[in-house]
């Protein structure tokens, strides 16, 4: 679905809500799996959101100024013997979007693979 200026998609609203939840528990930054897991828990769904959908949404939201991201220090990831994470955090626009002024667009069809 194409975004109209000043609007936010329901799946984006859901992601922002999950980010706020994480933030309230002290996780001001999140990576892909963490937000996917939080979204699943909030929704009470069985499956995590698909990789393709999640990263397309995150990229779109970053371009819209709702999120910002940075790659973590590779040495930190190497110490923990895992791939480096891309860490996202909500911008002030992202916080505002959760609480209200941006209108939520009604989807004409379901987001394929979001589950």
């Amino acid at each position: 679905m194409r975004r109209k200026p000043g609007t936010i998609l329901p799946i984006e609203q859901e992601l922002l809500g999950a980010a706020i939840n994480l933030s309230s528990r002290g996780a001001t930054e999140f990576h892909g799996f963490l937000i996917a897991h939080e979204m699943r828990d909030r929704r009470g769904a069985r499956d995590l959101i698909a990789y393709g959908n999640l990263y397309r949404i995150l990229e779109r939201m970053e371009k819209a100024g709702l999120l910002e991201s940075r790659w973590e220090d590779p040495s930190h990831a190497a110490e923990e013997k895992r791939p480096r994470r891309r860490l996202y955090h909500l911008t002030s626009l992202g916080h505002t979007a959760v609480t209200g002024p941006l209108a939520v667009m009604t989807p004409k069809r379901g987001l394929a693979g979001a589950g």
Partner: protein, 192 residues
Amino acid sequence: MEMIRRLNAFWIRLYTAGLTDAQKTSRRDEVSSDVHEQIAFFRGIGQSEAVINRGVASRTVRGILADVLWRLDAGREGEVVVRHGGNPPLPWFTMLFVGAVIVGGGVSSVQVEWMGDTRVSLAILSAFGAGLLWLGLYLVSHRFLGPILIAAGTVIVAWCLWWTLLAPVVAVCVGVSGLRRAQRIEALLESR
């Protein structure tokens, strides 16, 4: 588990082929990290390997449409960079050309009377070679597939058309100019 991970990685390599290094690295690293975290988390809570495998496979498959849509968008960004450098590869045209070659080759291969004619068979094969060459040019920034397809396409065209005097020379010239063009496009993309 390793096989599902590899299939996932292969799919990402496939749909990010032909993009800039920054685009490729970013998407590959991000999904690879997600898969790692997913496996580590569900192993940590004692889920079976089969369930974890299904989870990774399911997330990959359900996201295919979004991956393809993302790839089309990302490809357009790269195209703009290439156009500024005066080397428009026109991916849609390339794909149309390759599609026509494959459909044409498929139709030709069921024409039994044609297959008895060596020259027609070689012409069909050379068309496949040309298709591979074009696909290689489209995937030029892919470090592995680009050069392999360009080289394979050139060799097939040259080998199939040996029976004409001009064809091998033309094929080699096309191959060399294709490679030089490929290097220029790659340099442009990487200097972005």
